[in-house]
């Protein structure tokens, strides 16, 4: 709610000055946690929303076949005990026995088969098609064994099975469908839903029967109350008045002020969302100057990424040299050309390209306006007369895909998928968001995406990323951070996937 921000920031300064304490004692006493988020999921069924809070709820209420340890990135069995590729397009999965859904329904192969076949059928209108559109069909082999047939070679399938693909109880889901699942969600996860008032709150209670073999630690906090509070200033006020114990996505300036409040702790954490400048250099580009690599390199040299991270992005962010998040499988900057901040070099490259007098260009942006404005300043300093065009995301993407925009302040969160196939190929594999169209890069990415051999994948991605950097198709900038504010009695760990794990959070 940016329109409230100026006055809100002033009020926050007053809040911080007046707040004497934030009594989270009551919450601590009854071992509960009160958390607020600004977005409302249209449906808490993980396949029928595409907002972050939906992912957070999904991971607490449901389980996935595979689990990725956020500390080591190692894959562990969750509802599955083992899995193996029988060929490039077939995965066999052994399932864990003795698990029950929150409604008492027993978990077995029927649940996995029904869930995967239901959500991957476009007729059922799952809104997260990109998470499931690689599944051709799931088959039951035995009561606790399934086969998943893929439409194409897709090595990142394991990562998806460890992330957004939650398993529903087949009998209940057949009966109630996504609508009923939203009203009364049922999973196998560490928390069960005791009340859901859409648009207002969701009350979770620790699942007393949560299976001990789960790689998710047994939850210690007994109750989690998730409230939907749209205005961030109100969330801050609730924290200061003791009405909440945990909020996230707090603006850096607010977080800095809240550090001064007794009884509150502020934590910053890097996220998987990367930021980069996209320059349309394909034949159809509306800005001919971007066809010249010297111009693209000049732009790379013009922006002081270190200073931006230090002054604007905040603690926890890091400068990137390639268009992917470093922890993603296959992401590396090994062999990638690095362009240090050097405005003099930028000017000389522009002069070499015959643009000593600079040129006019529109920079399209849809979020972190202050960062986009800083970049406009850097570009103007080397003679590039950039004009900021700040749009809503849908309009921003339409302009870019439609070929009207050539220069974009782009960000990408990879849906928290820890595999490079969820980031770089989106912008370089001749798909909708590829404004470069380099066949050599595309083929290397195809090679990486199309193999299940980890070494071959890594080599192909490394080469593709090096070529992208050498040809300066983008300006890789930095990762973004998010700020969490919480009662300081809360023991919480932040991870780059921006998923607060309340099952491992506890009161000190």
């Amino acid at each position: 709610m940016s329109k409230f921000r100026p006055a809100g920031a002033a009020a926050l300064a007053l809040f911080a000055a007046f707040a004497l304490s934030a009594p989270a004692e009551a919450a601590k006493r009854d071992n509960s946690l009160r958390f607020a988020y600004d977005q409302v999921p249209e449906n808490v069924d993980p396949y029928f929303n595409n907002v972050r809070i939906g992912v957070i709820i999904g991971q607490h209420v449901w389980d996935t076949l595979i689990y990725r340890d956020p500390k080591t990135n190692e894959y562990k069995g969750q509802l599955a005990t083992a899995w193996r590729w029988t060929n490039d397009k077939t995965l066999e999965v052994d399932l864990r026995q003795g698990i029950k859904f929150h409604n008492g329904e027993e978990f077995d192969a029927d649940d996995v088969v029904y869930t995967l076949n239901f959500v991957s059928d476009p007729a059922n209108k799952s809104v997260t098609q990109q998470n499931v559109n690689w599944i051709a069909k799931a088959e039951k082999l035995e009561k606790y064994k399934v086969r998943i047939n893929l439409k194409r070679t897709f090595p990142a399938a394991i990562e998806y099975l460890a992330g957004p693909i939650a398993i529903h109880p087949n009998e209940y889901y057949t009966k109630v469908g996504p609508k009923g699942m939203n009203e009364k969600p049922v999973g196998t996860g560490p928390y069960r839903v005791v009340e859901h008032v859409p648009g207002k709150h969701l009350r979770l209670e620790r699942n007393p029967d949560y299976f001990k073999a789960s790689p998710k630690p047994q939850p210690t906090i007994a109750k989690v109350d998730i409230r939907f509070i749209p205005d961030r200033q109100t969330q801050v006020a609730e924290m200061l008045s003791g009405g909440l114990d945990f909020i996230m996505n707090v603006a850096p300036d607010q977080a800095a002020q809240m550090k001064a409040v007794p009884n509150l702790a502020v934590m910053s954490g890097e996220t998987m969302r990367i930021v980069f400048l996209q320059m349309a250099s394909s034949e159809k580009t509306p800005v001919a100057a971007f066809r010249d690599a010297r111009v693209r390199k000049a732009i790379n040299h013009a922006i002081d990424r270190q200073a931006m991270v230090k002054n604007l992005v905040g603690e926890g962010a890091r400068v990137l040299n390639t268009v992917c998040f470093p922890s993603q499988f296959g992401c590396t900057d090994e062999g990638a050309t690095v362009y240090p901040y050097d405005p003099a070099k930028a000017k000389s490259l522009l002069a070499e390209a015959g643009l000593a007098g600079g040129f006019d260009v529109d920079l399209y942006s849809y979020r972190e306006r202050n960062q986009a404005e800083a970049m406009v300043g850097y570009l103007r300093a080397v003679g590039i007369r950039a004009n900021l065009r700040f749009l809503q995301y849908a309009a921003f993407r339409d302009q870019l895909r439609g070929g009207t925009a050539a220069f974009a302040h782009q960000t990408w969160g990879s849906f928290s998928v820890n595999d490079v196939s969820a980031s770089t190929p989106v912008f370089f594999k001749f798909e909708d968001d590829d404004v470069t169209r380099d066949a050599e890069v595309r083929d290397l990415l195809e090679k990486g995406d199309g193999s299940v051999d980890p070494a071959a994948r890594k080599a192909a991605y490394r080469e593709a990323l090096a070529k992208i950097a050498e040809r300066a198709y983008t300006v890789p900038l930095y990762s973004l951070t998010t700020f969490y504010v919480m009662a300081n009695e809360l023991a919480f760990t932040a991870y780059p996937d921006e998923l607060p794990r309340f099952w491992e959070t506890r009161w000190k």
Binding site: M1, F4, A7, G8, A10, A11, L14, F15, F18, A19, V40, E42, N43, F48, N50, V51, P122, K125, V127, Q129, Q130, P178, K179, N182, P198, G199, K200, R227, F228, I229, P230, D231, Q233, T234, A237, E238, L240, S241, G242, G243, Q392, Y393, A394, A395, R397, D398, R401, W412, G413, F415, V426, E431, D432
Partner: protein, 305 residues
Amino acid sequence: MLGFAVRRIALALAVALAVSAASFILLRLSGDVATAIAGEGARAEDIAFVRKAYGLDRPLVVQYAEWLSNTLRGDFGTSLYFKTEVIGLVADKLPVTLVLGLASILFALAVSLPLGILAALHPNTWIDRLCLALAVLGQALPNFFFALCLILLFSITLRWLPVSGTGTWQHFVMPTLALGYYVAPAFMRLVRAGMIETLAADYVRTARASGLSPASVVFKHALRNALIPVVALAAVQLGFLLGGSIVVETIFALDGLGYLAYQSITYKDFPTTQAVVLLLSVVYIFLTLAADLVNAWLDPRLRVA
């Protein structure tokens, strides 16, 4: 009189239709609905799928005509975002907004009537200036800022009231103050002006000369006439409060119609936006009509029209 009423109702329907068409067009002009529903990262085929699945690939006129035809039959459709019947959504949220709107208008009247009368009885004195200052402050303060100041005082410093939510009557106190104080100045100025005018009227002078008590002159004779425009304004302001509580509902996380409107616009959920806009415009039109009738009841001279 019957012809007048029929003309007014026809005009009201035409206004409601125009409002719904305008909101339909404006919502579509603000960006592609299918892209917004598909979300970040959706590929062209995903967006195309959403467009077809929700019937957004048909011409705008066809979509609008279908919506209108269904609405006339009482079917407001299904929310694109919440995937539930729009009528149910609106019915769920309406009570919160009604409570807030009515409480705010009562608060505004409770503050503005005494202040307006006081200012009129002491024109151009420090009392008048103080009342004027309070009125100016009410209109000059953006209600979101005033709301945050209230939170600071009552929730953070004094810890008397909860910041947000709708669980108890205490949750409605600050939203009522924030919303009511914003409309109170208009009433106060109107009461003051009306009272100054009527207090100078011949019949009031006659009432005073006949030895009636000052209270009787002010409340029985002057105030009744001064209140006529206030009644009309109260009806219009109630309509404004019902439709204009978006910011206050959002700040205090009140799950009402204003917040639903905000959400539906944000998520390009046009069936919900259309229903909310239509409902609010009909309420507004109805209240304006009701104001005319009440005015005619209070002032026999207006019944001629």
